[in-house]
């Protein structure tokens, strides 16, 4: 790739230039002008990020069956608007140490997770998972190992890693979900040492262990790594989501833990039941918060 091509690549939708510009924005735009700025930038990206827009539309068609295609365009814009807010808030926390207020749904499960000696935190590309992980690690003084899908752009990946580690004051370590065999062993060791491993379980990336599950009546591929880890380590899986409710306000949604206990049944049966349980949880949270499901790639099979 030539230098000029590489330079241009920074301005691709997932390029690092926009992330750096976001950092510029949160340190230079007064808080009361951010709604206006985010509104206009969302219009820009709504047209510029066509693959993401199409992916949101295709997901919405399944999540909200029978919905009007025209109305879904508005919903896709709203989803991108919420996405812009969440990444702006995460950058704001990192650079401006801004305070955020939150409420908790399922507080008893959050306390259990904070006290757990090794656990899997299963979440989705929903709401502000980056901010949530950093703040959870800070508040409960726990180390989190966050597994993410690899970023398309290496510089963006580096920028995100640095942001997360900075926001979490070093307590959040990022690992990438690749086909490498070393990662599962590393995660298993981390759980056995009492750490919390956070994984996004709403979409399987290529070359990563996955199996069929049912979501909104459609067959989708979900990663089975979290369940495998839980089965081998006998650690509980805590479904957790953090959604934006209003300006600088968030809601942490924690659901009852999913256990993959060794029992008389075979491993496959245990895993399948756990995945069914997870799919039901995911469905209920997405249905209630569809405008904050930031799965910017199509999840469901094309019709």
């Amino acid at each position: 790739m030539t230098d000029s091509h590489r330079w241009f690549h920074r301005f691709a939708v997932r390029g690092v230039a926009w992330r750096r510009y976001l950092d510029f924005g949160v340190t230079n735009v007064p808080f009361y002008l951010r709604p206006v700025m985010i509104f206009f930038w969302t219009i820009f990206f709504f047209f510029f990020a066509a693959p993401a827009r199409r992916a949101i539309l295709s997901n919405l068609r399944v999540v909200l069956p029978g919905s009007s295609p025209l109305l879904n365009l508005g919903r896709a814009w709203l989803t991108l608007y919420n996405f812009a807010w969440t990444i702006a808030d995460a950058a704001d926390h990192k650079l401006g140490k801004t305070e955020f207020a939150y409420e908790v749904e399922g507080a008893e499960f959050l306390e259990q997770l904070a006290a757990a000696q090794g656990a899997v935190l299963l979440t989705a590309h929903m709401g502000n998972y980056d901010l949530g992980a950093a703040l959870f690690a800070q508040r409960y003084q726990r180390n989190i190992r966050m597994v993410r899908a690899p970023e398309a752009d290496a510089q963006t990946a580096r920028h995100l890693d640095e942001s997360l580690e900075r926001a979490g004051a070093g307590a959040v370590k990022v690992a990438y979900n690749t086909s490498s065999m070393a990662l599962p062993l590393e995660l298993l060791n981390a759980i056995r040492q009492g750490e919390i491993v956070s994984i996004q379980g709403d979409r399987a990336v290529a070359h990563v262990s996955q199996r069929a599950a049912c979501l909104f009546g459609e067959e989708v591929k979900l990663p089975d790594g979290p369940f495998m880890l839980a089965f081998v380590s006998q650690a509980p899986i805590y479904p957790l989501f953090i959604v934006r409710t209003s300006f600088h306000h968030y809601k942490i949604i924690t659901r009852p833990p999913i256990h993959c206990l060794r029992s008389e049944r075979d491993r496959e049966g245990v895993m399948e039941e756990a995945m069914r349980n997870w799919s039901r949880t995911l469905e209920s949270v997405i249905a209630a918060n569809w405008s904050q499901w930031f799965s910017l790639v199509p999840i469901f099979p094309e019709r």
């Binding site: 951010r34 305070e99 300006f247």
Partner: protein, 160 residues
């Protein structure tokens, strides 16, 4: 992230803090209010758009073109704000190098510049003949004065 106690609210500006205190609420300085964020943002941006429209529309004659200008104006104002942030950023860079500005973010300086510019726009509205533009200027200057007065009262309250 903070877990505010029930009933505790946060405002960034002194005026709503004072109003909330007078209403008997426990209040502190924090950017928690959507009314402040969206309300003030729309007011500042809206006044800039009105100013732009009053400035440029007299030069546009055909009605269709006026509608087009009105449609494009918010985008132009948005771009103008982006340029303003960048110019302020350059000035702040110089001030930092001279040791005259050391705040963590550039937001406080940007805030002062935007408030000054918006107040300038409000002053220009005072001389406008349009029935609703003048009250808009009066409204802004009234809000600004009340907020400055609230800052003073907060300071006195802390000293007493």
């Amino acid at each position: 992230m903070n877990d505010p106690a029930p009933g505790q609210i946060g405002y960034a500006f002194a005026l709503p803090r004072l109003a909330a205190r007078l209403a008997g609420h426990k209040v502190r300085r924090a950017e928690f209010s959507r009314w402040e964020a969206y309300g003030l943002g729309i007011l500042v941006f809206g006044m800039s758009c009105v100013f732009g429209a009053r400035l440029f529309l007299p030069f546009v004659r055909p009605m269709a073109l006026q509608v087009l200008v009105l449609f494009l104006l918010p985008f132009a104002i948005w771009l103008a704000f982006l340029i303003l942030y960048y110019l302020n950023f350059l000035v702040i860079g110089v001030l930092r190098r001279l040791g005259l500005y050391s705040v963590l973010t550039n937001n406080p300086f940007q805030h002062v510049v935007i408030m000054a510019l918006t107040s300038g726009i409000a002053f220009s509205f005072l001389g406008d003949e349009c029935a609703w533009v003048k009250p808009l200027g009066v409204f802004w200057l009234g809000l600004l004065s009340l907020n400055l007065l609230s800052i003073l009262l907060e300071k006195l309250r802390h000293e007493l």
